[in-house]
Symmetry: C2
Subunit: 350 residues, 2 copies
């Protein structure tokens, strides 16, 4: 394989991994990994300068060293120049803008892999269907786009705690082995599957289920109830995928991107946390994001809105009572305690 | 339907449920539910007398009232006389003895439902295969035996926390509706499936996976690692079921008895708890059961032994590295920390 360079913004946890794998496989990868950093001033210094001198992202991943072959680059175009693999790890609302900036600036033989969990629904109305973020990137840049999802809460990945992840790659035979090499390590075990749509939708929809789990946690229910939420949520995910992408493979749900990520997110994720507090305190979601997530946003309520927009438009909201209830509770149209009656009357209990 | 009576020993949490459902459906069930209680003296009184006067199992479920139509009966034969449905909720080592005592003493038109989670492996050698507890009951008593499994930790069921459960009933059309009626309530939602072997094996094998989850918890790993344990464990369960009972239905794993129970058990169950302490303290399992479980035993290490006996005999232990590792760690032949290398080299990571 020719040289490979990695460009990304955010996700220093992943930069630590690819920094090491690219060192380990010098025949496959250029040793320098360029990381696009949206620059900001931290303690009087530029964040990119701090990363390049101290090899630590003191703002977003303090205390964890980043390999010295990872170079922070504040200019987007420069960070991608001559790169063959672009790794997307940015908040999903920036994807479109970033892609438009890169349009026409990339070399040939470029592929991307997206780690972004969400849907690109603001554009769904025009398209009459779900828009995946990978499809959005693909359409603007006209390159092959794979996805990486899985049970990997960032702070645990950064602690080198053992975990797994799934790469969804439609051209598995062609691109799978190299992508696996790029991310696979002793503590970050990769499986590659072809069913990329399912992988990506699992990553997006699990955040909606995690909101439901947060509500029941906040209401004081225990592990039994949470297991029921996870089970019914998983069934709605399978149904959603089957409805909008018929022919998906049931075995994909047994990959890390499926049940495993769903479990992790429903126990340790930030959507669960915010929604638990929402049920307990009655404060607004915006307020709780500020208080609990230090400025990061919870993706679940947004995704629930997008999913509701989709299912209502298709006339099938009733097929997804848990997703719909999360949307309504987040919007203040239902109480968190209504989640229990949603579970009780769920059509999967036949 | 004719009269139905329920006989069981232990599991007062379930007695609370069937006490109420039988009251609610007087056309289907005899209003009196007889509960066999292995009598013991508690504070100078017989436990059965306490239950029948104070309507509370002060020893095993203190603080929770038992409906007054549930009558504790200390004599096994008497408790089952004229009963049409026997509900088995006893430690699995007593099943054989109890069934032999009941042999020839039951009326016609009797069916049983087992809530016991485990395998009857001591008899496997003769049979050359796994022996299910339901099959053991069936063979001795010559009656139809269904099973009830699911994500229902007893203390949460007793608190009327919302949960789900799965009934596995081979003659679903004939017996399913009545069994559902007997257990289903607002807070205990029942699905009935025909794939009873899978339901029962999920109930038994999840305890082995929970041991693995306990080890990684005890070693200080987080939710990512636990999600990987649950995922790989689930895959071994599906493989085990398929190997010993070919033709099982993948959708059964999406019932409460499958993923949901596995999750609950790996987060809130006693096998997890004991194995976490085992990894942390190095004390013996027997000692930890005494300390942490107040005399109850952890089923997981026993089931792991039984599973290992089976898979080794069939020459397929290598297909089940997680199950095998749990067996070896519980036996002291491997260290709890070896669980991580087992996860790292698991054949499902392809």
């Amino acid at each position: 394989m020719g040289l490979r360079k990695i460009t990304r913004g955010g996700g220093s946890a992943i930069a630590r991994i690819v920094g090491n794998t690219t060192k380990n496989f010098p025949n496959d990868f250029d040793p320098t990994v360029r990381m696009w950093v949206f620059d900001e001033i931290v303690g009087g210094e530029k964040l990119s300068d701090i990363i390049n001198t101290r090899h630590e992202n003191v703002k977003y991943l303090p205390g964890k060293s980043i390999p010295d072959n990872v170079v922070a680059v504040p200019d987007l175009i420069e960070s991608c120049e001559d790169s063959n693999i672009l790794v997307f790890v940015v908040p999903h609302q920036f994807v479109r803008k970033i892609c438009h900036q890169l349009e026409g600036k990339l070399g040939s033989d470029v592929q991307a892999i997206s780690l972004i969990k969400g849907l690109a629904a603001p554009y769904a109305e025009k398209l009459g269907g779900v828009k995946l973020i990978s499809d959005e990137i693909k359409e603007i840049l006209n390159i092959e786009v794979s996805v990486l999802m899985g049970a990997n809460l960032a702070h645990e990945v950064a602690n080198d705690s053992f975990c797994e992840a799934t790469i969804g790659c439609k051209k598995k035979a062609q691109y799978g082995p190299l992508l696996k090499k790029l991310f696979n390590s002793d503590n970050f075990r990769i499986n590659v599957v072809e069913d990329a749509h399912t992988v990506e939708l699992c990553g997006a929809l699990k955040n909606v289920v995690a909101c439901a789990a947060g509500f029941t946690d906040g209401l004081g229910y225990g592990d039994n109830t949470k297991a029921a939420v996870i089970r019914l949520g998983l069934l709605e995910i399978t149904k959603f995928v089957e409805y909008y992408y018929p022919g998906s493979n049931l075995s994909t749900f047994f990959e890390s991107c499926g049940i495993a990520d769903l479990i992790t997110t429903c126990y340790g994720g930030r959507n669960r946390k915010v929604c638990e507090a929402y049920a307990k305190t009655g404060k607004s979601l915006a307020e709780l994001e500020k208080e609990l997530l230090h400025g990061q946003s919870a993706q679940g309520p947004l995704t629930a809105d997008e999913v509701y927009f989709m299912t209502q438009r298709s006339g099938v909201s009733d097929m997804f009572p848990l997703f719909t209830a999360v949307h309504r509770i987040c919007r203040g149209e239902m109480k968190p305690s209504d989640m229990i009656s949603c579970l009780r009357s769920h059509p999967e209990q036949v």
